[in-house]
Structures are given as structure tokens and as C-alpha cells.
């Protein structure tokens, strides 16, 4: 087990280094940060001087080396746009994104599992048909449209929920949470639903397909023959055996919920790292972009590791396999 984790960690470091390299190669095509830093009154020599000072005239590998060297010391530089330390910016924005991600993951998991099990156990009922049809909408509508649609219905027309922002936040030891205030919770509802819809339908369809598959297996028939209760068969045996792929997908999806909350955050003006990233891309704020991409790579690496460890817990075969080795 320990050897496995160590091996995984070593692989993770390589992954992150590759992400950093690719990100840096892409930055050269995003545009010229100097153009957005200096106004139209600036002269050519100002541009040249600033480029020199930011080290943009250095060859690619020198810039990359400098970035890696600083990153290893936990130093990501100062944002060109906001002129504040990047690590500070990301840390201050992180609680918003994490709260949004977990809220939407919870919605996705709870409803996805429930509906998935329901539609698998009663595949021919009318309700299942309705749910399956609606789920198609969830998969196929772009997040942006869902968000705008929800804003239109619940904020503009009904005026039940706020259309943007995070409401009031409470500072608990540096973690600014919106979960403790009424406005904070109300603000969370629409973005969390928007972000969860795709994952929800994905999990639901996955659970349903896996469950239907498992219910056809011989051991389920034998269990039935032995006269076990329906409940024990469906939840004790069938559901448990569908969990391995569900955990994988949910875990990876949690990563992408954090990483790709960008659209939702932009639509709802949610002050998380995603909207920070978008604002930075527009003005080519390289320090923020680099740090953000590294952070996302890190999130994926960690989640993958946790998912791998969870396999051990859920699937006894893997434990046996590891033991033999």
C-alpha cells in the first residue's frame, strides 16, 4: 500500500511538471501581457523596458526554469493585473470555489444515486421514462444556458434568489464561508444547481446502467433463490457492486467541477478561482494563469490518489492482489 502511494506520488510530480511545461508553451500564444498593462499613452520604450523587467524577452526555457525554481519555493510572483501576490489571491478565492464544488457534488451524488437506483429498479415505470428524458436535457444543455435560464426564472421573474455574487460571508480563521449566512446560502443555490446538473445526470445514468448490469448477474439470482430480502439484494449486493465505477467517475468529476466551474462562476459572478482565471486570461496575467493551472493539476493528482485508495476499501479483490505482490 505504502509503496503504491509513493509510486503514485512520483508519477504525480512528473504530471505536474508536464502541465507546467505545456502551460508555458501556450502562454506565448495568449497575447502580449505588456499590451494590456500599459495604456495608449505609453511609448515604445516603455513597452520594451517593461518587457525586459518582466523577463519576457528571455528565451522560453529561461522563463520556464525561473518559474519552476520559484514555484518550488512556493513563490508564484505578483499578479500583473491586481498587483497582489498570486498565492494570496488564489488562497483568498479558494473557499468560494470549494464550497460551490462540494455543494454541487453533493447535489449530484445524492440525486444521481437516488434517481439512478430508482430508474434501474423500476425501468419500465412512467416516472423512470420522464426522468430519463429530462436527464437528456441536463446532459445536452450547455452550462452557460442553464445558468442564464435559472437567473431569468428565479432572479428576474420570480425574484426568489439573487442573480449574482456570494452574499454575505463570515470569516472563520481565514476561510471566508458563505454557508453561515442566509444571503450566502441563497446565493449558493442557483450556481450549485447549474454546476451539478451535468454531473447529476452523468452519475444517474452510470448508476442505472451499472445496476441493470449487476442485477442480471448470477449471484443476484442465487441471492433471490436463497430468499434474501429485496432490500438486502438491491442495496447490500447490487448497489455495492456498482460503486467502483461510480466512485471513479464521481472523484474525477469533483476535480473537473473545481477546474471547470469557470463558466458557472463567470455567469453568476461567483468570486472563486475560476472567475479569477478568466479575468486573468483576458489581460494575459501570466503569473495567475500559471499558478492556477498548476493548482488544478495538483487537485486532479490528489483526487486520483484518493480514488485509488478508495478502490482498496470498496473492492476486496484489489486488496488481495496487492497482498500477493
Amino acid at each position: 500500500m505504502l509503496a503504491f502511494i509513493l509510486r503514485r506520488l512520483a508519477q504525480s510530480i512528473i504530471v505536474m511538471a508536464v502541465v507546467a511545461l505545456i502551460a508555458f508553451m501556450l502562454f506565448r500564444y495568449v497575447g502580449d501581457p505588456v499590451a494590456s498593462l500599459l495604456g495608449q499613452d505609453s511609448r515604445l520604450e516603455d513597452f520594451e523596458e517593461l518587457r525586459e523587467r518582466l523577463g519576457l524577452n528571455d528565451p522560453f526555457y529561461v522563463q520556464f526554469g525561473r518559474f519552476i525554481g520559484n514555484a518550488l519555493q512556493g513563490e508564484f510572483g505578483i499578479s500583473y493585473r491586481l498587483q497582489q501576490p498570486v498565492s494570496e489571491l488564489i488562497i483568498s478565492r479558494l473557499p468560494a470555489t470549494i464550497e460551490l464544488a462540494f455543494a454541487s457534488a453533493t447535489i449530484a451524488l445524492v440525486f444521481g444515486l437516488t434517481l439512478g437506483v430508482f430508474t434501474a429498479l423500476k425501468p419500465r415505470s412512467f416516472a423512470s421514462g420522464v426522468i430519463m428524458t429530462l436527464s437528456l436535457v441536463g446532459v445536452s444543455l450547455p452550462t452557460f444556458l442553464i445558468g442564464i435560464g435559472l437567473i431569468y426564472v428565479f432572479a428576474v421573474e420570480l425574484q426568489w434568489l439573487p442573480s449574482f455574487g456570494r452574499g454575505e460571508v463570515v470569516d472563520i480563521g481565514g476561510w471566508r464561508t458563505g454557508l453561515l449566512t442566509e444571503t450566502g446560502l441563497r446565493s449558493l443555490i442557483l450556481p450549485a444547481i447549474t454546476l451539478s446538473l451535468f454531473q447529476l445526470t452523468l452519475i444517474m445514468r452510470l448508476v442505472r446502467a451499472e445496476m441493470l448490469e449487476v442485477l442480471r448477474q448470477d449471484y443476484i439470482r442465487f441471492a433471490r433463490a436463497r430468499g434474501l430480502s429485496k432490500r438486502a439484494i438491491n442495496f447490500g449486493h447490487a448497489l455495492k457492486n456498482t460503486m467502483v465505477p461510480v466512485i471513479t467517475i464521481t472523484g474525477l468529476q469533483l476535480g473537473s467541477v473545481i477546474a471547470f466551474s469557470i463558466v458557472t462562476e463567470t455567469v453568476f459572478q461567483w468570486p472563486g478561482v475560476g472567475s479569477l482565471f478568466i479575468n486573468s486570461v483576458q489581460v494575459v496575467d501570466v503569473p495567475v494563469m500559471a499558478a492556477y493551472l498548476m493548482f488544478i493539476a495538483f487537485v486532479f493528482v490528489v483526487i486520483n490518489l484518493i480514488v485509488d485508495i478508495l478502490y482498496f476499501a470498496v473492492d476486496p479483490r484489489l486488496r488481495v492482489g496487492a497482498g500477493r505482490r
Binding site: S36, G39, D41, R43, L50, G165, T266, P271, N279
Partner: protein, 526 residues
């Protein structure tokens, strides 16, 4: 519990209405101020925010006139045309209680023209700044500079003592690694005091009860809310969560104007949208004509001018929200005349084709048009319209659309044959346009002139504008320069951008030509 809540809210209400009429405005626009350090960025959004906390010596009203603010008068020194004398307003206090004196003005002007300041170009002609007495400042220029006060409308005055105490004398530069106190803290003389700030999320300002102006603003609290997404920003206004939206997309103007309870104010911005092209002898890089440059022939440029239907662009692309023009200067600017502004009512494709044929291109030619797609109102759509209009006379245009961060370097490095650009004129004088767009690209001049246009005689005239103190003579020179620019079709102007502000109808706020609305000028209708 409910009773307690009611008591609490009654108490809170009582506290809130303590000042005779407390009025809060929630002001949304598409982005946040970049910094609170008033000399660190020369950027409109940042200046607009700073104008509420800090003040400048002179200011610009909604008609574009120069008006006194922290300076009560200003004039050229009688016996020395290179010295500007400013009288500093007396009895002005900074938010921390310190008194404004000439020393603070000298300190601020020196800070604004220091090496690390992004405003230094506006003060490049300054040789030295000195305090003559407690309320008089003399600015010595390197030569006669008749327009220098025009450059001061965004140069904010800071308190010397406060800045020094907090080690913020040096302006923070992009890419530096140290943190600067003035980036996140303020101490101005302005009508509002910063209460809290959460960058990109929300800033709160409250009224400065000790402000020097006699008339107090109607708004006592400002909540500033950056909302990047257009649809969300408008939705927030419709749902009543914000009171004022500054950046209204053109496609929403009509709908909002027809919505009950919402007022839309529109007005021209001091910004021209134009096309430029490479017109030197050197062949174009993106054309099928490889032995010479078709655009070097003034007939071809005239044909392009005639082929463009500016009214159609206004109606179709801009939904009526533009002021078409035939000259590359907004009407606010000294040097603009209605004669220059005239443009063909309709495109004349037949005449344009004739001119092309005369120039030797009966079948037209190909060229690539570089356009930004996130900088000006509907910039990419304007360029698409131009592609169609030029196609009608046989000029086959390929459109290359990029975000502004990639578009600007093409212009600065002269790597484009044909491009769209917008130009604001903060000095409200034609010289600002000539210096950067018309003068040959060399040294301090022509930074945004990738066209290869070079007219030494004209360059001499342009340079003379900087130091000519005889106003009439100077204006005559400006008129001459415009005449040549128009005859040579150096620039291909399309229209002046129009701004729209949308607000709850209990508020009134006129559009500011530099898109720097002042909340202290908001009036409340009962």
C-alpha cells in the same frame, strides 16, 4: 424571535436614516478598478473609481469642458511662457484630517511623473515642480506647453505625509515583487471615503462629511459591484439587485428603455472607431498583389472610403447606438468641424469600382483585416460588415479576429496591413490624434501609426502644435493638418462610439464623454 428581529431591524433602520436622507446606490460595471494607487495604472475603470476617493487639480464636466477642482485657477506665468501657475484650493482636508497644501501637490505631481508611474507620459514635458507658497504651485515645462492642464484630469493628489509614513512613495510597478500600502489603502480629499474593498467582488464607499464642496452629493453610500458577464449584469438590474449599470451592451439598450422602472441614458463617448491600413510603397504582406502596394494609390483609399455604408453599420451592427463620421476625431475635440465630419450618406459602389479600375485593379485584390474582438463595442461585427462592403467592389478581405491582448502588438510592431482600432482623446485636442496616429513612426511620435505614412512637412506642423502658444495660429495649423489627412485618406473613420448607462428611474446620471461617471453627480427624482 420574530419580535427580536423586528426590534433589531427597527433599530438598524433608525441608525441608517440618521443622516437626513441616506441614499445608497449599487453600481455595477464589467470590471473592477485594478488598484487603489492612483498613479500606478493609466486606465479608465481605475481612474473612474479613484475620482470618488481622490481628486485632481482640474476636471472635465459632461460637456467635456475643463473645470476647477483642487486648483481654483491656473494660468501661464506672465513673464515666462514655460511656467504654469496653479492656485491650490484652501481649506481642503484629506480623509485622515491632514490639510491639503502646495507641498502635497508638488509631491503628487512628482510621484505621477516618476519613472515607475504609468502616468509619466502625460507629464513628460515637465522640467520641475515647486511650491511658491502654501497654496501656489509652479510647474516649469521644458518648453511652452499650452495644453498641459488638459493632461491633469486623471492625475490625483495624495497626501505627502501619509504616503511617506506608509512607505508608498515609490509607485508599484507591474512585475515587482513587493507589496505597496497605497495599492490597498487610500487617503484622498474626495467626496467619498473607502469603507471596504474586496477586489473583483465588492467595494463600499461612504460619504465624506467634511468635503470642501458646498453642495453635498445626493448619494451617501456607494456599493460598487463588478459583474463581468453582460447577461448577468443586466439581469441584476432587472431583478432589482443593482441600481445602476454602467456598461450596457448595445443589444439591450432598446429593451431596457422599454422596461418600466428603468431609465437608459445614452451619449457619445470621446472615442473614434476607425480603420487604418499600410499605405507605403512596400507591397502588402497579405495580398495577392505582390509587386506593389495597391493602397499606396490614393484612388484605392478613396474607393474604400466610398464603399463603406456608415449608416448601415450604425443601424444594423450598432442598433442605432453610434454616431457615424467622416473624420477620425470625436466632436468633443478641438479641431473638429461639421465639414470634416461629413461622410457619404450611402455607399457608392459604382464610383468606387471606377476608381479601382482607374488605379489598375478592375478585379480588386485580396487583403487581411486584423480586428480585435473584445475591446470596442461590437468591434468584430463592424469588421465583418466591412468585409462584405469591400467585397462588393472586388476587394476580397480575409478577417483575422483576435483578443485585444494579441491585436495591440500587431499595431505597435507594424505587423498589420489593415486593422481596426479605437482612439480616445483624453486631452480633447487634435494634437493627441496627430502625434500617435498620423506622425511618422519615430521616437516619441507615431506609436500607433503602423501605416508607413510619412509626410515630413506635416510632421513639422504636428510638432509645432506642442509649443505654439498663439491659440488662433495653432488652430489654423490644426485645420491645415486635418485637410491633408482627409485628402490623403490616411485614416478610414467609421463612427464615434455611444455609451449607455441604465439605472432605476429614481436616479438620473448623464453619460460622461470619457466614460467616467461621477456618482456624486447622481440626482434623485421623487
Amino acid at each position: 424571535m420574530r419580535k427580536l428581529l423586528i426590534t433589531a431591524s427597527v433599530l438598524a433602520l433608525g441608525l441608517a436614516i440618521m443622516p437626513a436622507s441616506a441614499e445608497t446606490i449599487r453600481w455595477a460595471r464589467n470590471s473592477d478598478a485594478l488598484t487603489l494607487d492612483p498613479h500606478s495604472q493609466n486606465q479608465g475603470t481605475t481612474h473612474t473609481f479613484s475620482h470618488h476617493i481622490y481628486e485632481t487639480l482640474v476636471d472635465r464636466d459632461v460637456e467635456g469642458n475643463l473645470i476647477p477642482r483642487l486648483a481654483t485657477e491656473w494660468s501661464v506665468k506672465e513673464d515666462d511662457p514655460t511656467v504654469w501657475v496653479f492656485k491650490v484650493r484652501e481649506g481642503v482636508k484629506f480623509h485622515d484630517g491632514a490639510e491639503l497644501t502646495a507641498e502635497d501637490v508638488v509631491f503628487s505631481l512628482d510621484r505621477a511623473r516618476s519613472d515607475k508611474s504609468n502616468l509619466k507620459q502625460l507629464h513628460s514635458a515637465v522640467a520641475s515642480v515647486t511650491a511658491v507658497d502654501d497654496f501656489t504651485v509652479e510647474v516649469k515645462m521644458t518648453g511652452p506647453s499650452p495644453l498641459y492642464p488638459n493632461n491633469l484630469t486623471n492625475t490625483f493628489i495624495m497626501d505627502k505625509g501619509w504616503t511617506e509614513t506608509n512607505n508608498a512613495v515609490e509607485v508599484q510597478q507591474a512585475g515587482s515583487t513587493d507589496d505597496n500600502y497605497a495599492v490597498r489603502n487610500t487617503n484622498g480629499t474626495g467626496p467619498y471615503i473607502l469603507v471596504s474593498r474586496d477586489p473583483d467582488v465588492r467595494s463600499v464607499l461612504k460619504i465624506n462629511e467634511n468635503h470642501w464642496a458646498e453642495s453635498k452629493p445626493a448619494i451617501t453610500e456607494i456599493i460598487y459591484l463588478p459583474i463581468a458577464d453582460n447577461a448577468t449584469r443586466i439581469a441584476a438590474l432587472l431583478s432589482g439587485e443593482v441600481d445602476l449599470v454602467q456598461d450596457v451592451p448595445v443589444q439591450d439598450v432598446e429593451r431596457l428603455a422599454g422596461t418600466a422602472g428603468i431609465r437608459v441614458e445614452t451619449g457619445p463617448e470621446n472615442r473614434i472607431i476607425y480603420f487604418g491600413y499600410r499605405l507605403g510603397e512596400e507591397p502588402l504582406k497579405s495580398s495577392n498583389v505582390t509587386d506593389k502596394n495597391p493602397l499606396a494609390d490614393s484612388k484605392v483609399r478613396e474607393a474604400m472610403h466610398l464603399a463603406i455604408d456608415r449608416n448601415a453599420i450604425k443601424q444594423v451592427v450598432m442598433r442605432g447606438q453610434a454616431v457615424p463620421t467622416g473624420v477620425a476625431t470625436p466632436p468633443f475635440v478641438n479641431g473638429w468641424t461639421p465639414e470634416l465630419d461629413a461622410y457619404p450618406e450611402k455607399a457608392d459602389a459604382a464610383k468606387a469600382k471606377e476608381l479601382l479600375a482607374e488605379a489598375g485593379y478592375p478585379d480588386g485584390f485580396t487583403i487581411t483585416l486584423d480586428t480585435p474582438n473584445n475591446r470596442y463595442v461590437n468591434d468584430e461585427a463592424i469588421s465583418q460588415a466591412i468585409v462584405g462592403m469591400l467585397g462588393q467592389i472586388g476587394i476580397k478581405v480575409t478577417l483575422a479576429s483576435r483578443p485585444v491582448a494579441q491585436h495591440s502588438p500587431l499595431i505597435q510592431n507594424a505587423e498589420t496591413d489593415f486593422y481596426l482600432l479605437g482612439w480616445g482623446v483624453p486631452t480633447f485636442d487634435s494634437a493627441y490624434i496627430f502625434n500617435d496616429l498620423v506622425h511618422t513612426k519615430e521616437g516619441q511620435y507615431g506609436a500607433y501609426n503602423p501605416s508607413g505614412y510619412s509626410n515630413p512637412e506635416l510632421d513639422k506642423k504636428i510638432q509645432s502644435l506642442a509649443t505654439e502658444i498663439d491659440v488662433e495660429k495653432r488652430n489654423a495649423t490644426i485645420a491645415e493638418i486635418w485637410k491633408t489627412v482627409q485628402e490623403d485618406r490616411v485614416l478610414l473613420p467609421i463612427h464615434n462610439q455611444v455609451l449607455a448607462y441604465a439605472m432605476k428611474d429614481k436616479f438620473t446620471l448623464a453619460v460622461h464623454p470619457e466614460n467616467q461617471p461621477r456618482i456624486y453627480e447622481v440626482t434623485i427624482n421623487d
